[in-house]
């Protein structure tokens, strides 16, 4: 039975990927761009979920790594002659380094205190980016970032984003399913008990934070490819909140939850804001309904509904 479901899942996965690859052939440009954005934010939310959903860490200001990744890539591309692929990687590495430095400080605290300290440290980074006109362009950001021809076209950037997102999701999935990921979930369950079986909780969390920061940075660099601009709002805490909400709406205990959440939030933001300036109101109502009726998020809810059949079989078998 177990084998049957896993082959079915692989089949679904291949079908979904195939549909994504064929989309640009049918959809107008605007929608292709929109889906690229969903992928970028989906990757960002999934990277947050490594520590939020699987590690139980309240990483409130995850966008710092996204923004720093984007800025690092943008600065390398505009100010140096470094090849594109290295500039792209520089974004992720810069985000990972920042995540390590912030992590050393924040990992000493737990739960809400962790989140509060993280918001303040992150806002510090935002303030630097916002104020340092000569280097980061300050409030203006950086525009017209030179991205190589082949991936700067609409379809090119879409395929590049899709490929990088798929690779990153695969890597994150592997990390989550590895013993490292299991130990991380153990820490989420109970940090004290994890210590009692020899896990160095703080170091484990720090490594997880660096990994999350790294993939957040990748998402930031992808945004540069899709939009060719960076601006300080990418590091502002309201965006972090939005990414946090993406995880909650989609389901922070399911792997693809944040992806789904990101798609929903982006779609709401884009389409509802076409009808009314009060789109945040609609957004808020959706949020309230999700929290009240689907505490595990939309995907979490669907997974739960699908589960009972499996569980019954398991009971019959055992």
């Amino acid at each position: 039975m177990r084998k049957g479901t896993s082959t079915r899942n692989i089949g679904i996965g291949i079908a979904v990927v195939a549909v994504f690859f064929l989309l640009p052939a049918f959809l107008p440009r605007f929608y292709v761009y929109l889906i690229s954005l969903m992928l970028v934010y989906g990757l960002l939310a999934t990277s947050l979920n490594i520590v939020l959903g699987y590690g139980g860490v309240f990483q409130f200001h995850h966008c710092v790594f996204y923004g720093v990744g984007a800025y690092a890539t943008a600065l390398f591309l505009t100010k140096t002659g470094v090849p594109f692929i290295l500039s792209f990687l520089a974004g992720a590495v810069a985000a990972a380094v920042l995540s390590f430095l912030m992590g050393i400080i924040t990992v000493r605290l737990s739960k809400l205190y962790f989140g509060m300290l993280q918001i303040s440290l992150g806002s510090l980074v935002w303030a630097i980016v916002y104020r340092w006109y000569s280097f980061t362009g300050g409030d203006d950001g950086i525009h017209g970032i030179p991205v190589p021809e082949i991936i700067s076209s609409y379809n090119g950037s879409y395929y590049f984003t899709l490929a990088v997102t798929l690779i990153c999701l695969f890597l994150i999935y592997k990390i989550i399913k590895s013993p490292f990921g299991s130990a991380l979930q153990g820490i989420r369950d109970n940090p004290v008990r994890s210590g009692m079986i020899g896990i160095n909780v703080k170091r484990h969390l720090l490594v997880a934070l660096v990994i999350a920061g790294f993939f957040g940075g990748v998402a930031g660099s992808l945004f540069v490819v899709v939009d060719k601009t960076v601006f300080p709002d990418m590091l502002f805490w309201t965006l972090s909140l939005e990414v946090f909400i993406m995880c909650l709406i989609g389901g922070w205990f399911s792997f693809f939850g944040p992806m789904v959440g990101a798609a929903i939030v982006i779609a709401l933001r884009t389409f509802v804001s076409g009808y009314t300036v009060y789109w945040a109101l609609v957004y808020g109502i959706v949020m309230v309904f999700v929290i009240f009726f689907l505490p595990n998020g939309i995907l979490g809810f669907l997974e739960q509904r699908a589960k009972p059949a499996d569980e019954k079989k398991l009971i019959e078998k055992g």
Binding site: S182, Q185, G186, G195, N200, V201, L314, G318
Partner: protein
């Protein structure tokens, strides 16, 4: 040779004084019982050793080293396995993953060896640990502690709330562990069950050690039995 040694340990929960000058020792390869009623201080003694509730004064030596104030994960890595009385497993992980994530000091214990000791676990490897029965969870928690190849095992009321048949199996398994050379500090309310297993006994009441001796000494000492153990 004294393996684990507590000397005049005093432990507090906030302002309330719980353990009063508790001294006890465990020698290599023996099972030592820590008996007492509910709330006598058995679990707190265990938690003091494991630094979950660090003692305020006194010494704790393990293999001749002072271990007071060390982090729990470091204690585990020096060879102390702890099985808490709430025997909580990592509910979201499978049985296999519960064993997998343990820090391993050396290769003495493998998952296969744990499954050999607890055959029922092998059949439910892939099940979520949160769905196990009480007895299965107890086996898993002990197995988890064993994965770190401990030299000393702290078992806090392992038989509490289990069916008699399972208790019997567990007793055999504990004796098996002893024969492998693992020293065990076993806390129990169930005096009858404990006396079948242990070599020496400490009786604790109101945070003080009231009696220390062999099983025979305790069995002949009616007063201690009546006063502190209610048997």
């Amino acid at each position: 040779m004294t393996f684990l040694e507590l000397t005049k340990v005093n432990t507090f929960y906030g302002l309330s004084h719980i353990l009063f000058d508790v001294s006890l020792s465990v020698n290599k390869g023996e099972i030592v019982g820590l008996l007492g009623r509910n709330g006598a201080g058995k679990s707190t003694t265990m938690k003091s050793i494991m630094a979950l509730v660090p003692p305020r004064s006194g010494f704790i030596r393990f293999k001749g080293q002072d271990i007071k104030g060390k982090d729990p994960y470091l204690l585990f890595r020096t060879g102390i396995g702890y099985v808490p009385d709430d025997r909580r497993v990592f509910a979201d992980l499978s049985v296999d993953d519960n064993l997998e994530i343990v820090y391993r000091r050396n290769g003495d214990w493998t998952k296969e060896k744990v499954y050999q000791l607890f055959p029922p676990l092998a059949e439910i490897k892939d099940r979520r640990a949160g769905h196990l029965s009480g007895g299965e969870q107890q086996m898993l928690t002990i197995g988890r502690a064993l994965m770190g190849s401990p030299e000393l095992l702290l078992l806090d009321e392992p038989t509490e709330g289990l069916a008699p048949l399972i208790v019997k199996a567990l007793e055999n398994q504990i004796l098996q562990l002893k024969s492998m050379g693992i020293s065990i500090l076993l806390s129990e309310q169930n005096v009858k069950s404990a006396l079948k297993l242990v070599d020496r006994v400490y009786v604790i009441d109101n945070g003080r050690i009231r009696f220390e001796g062999t099983v025979k000494d305790l069995e002949t000492n009616e007063e201690i039995k009546k006063r502190y153990l209610m048997v």
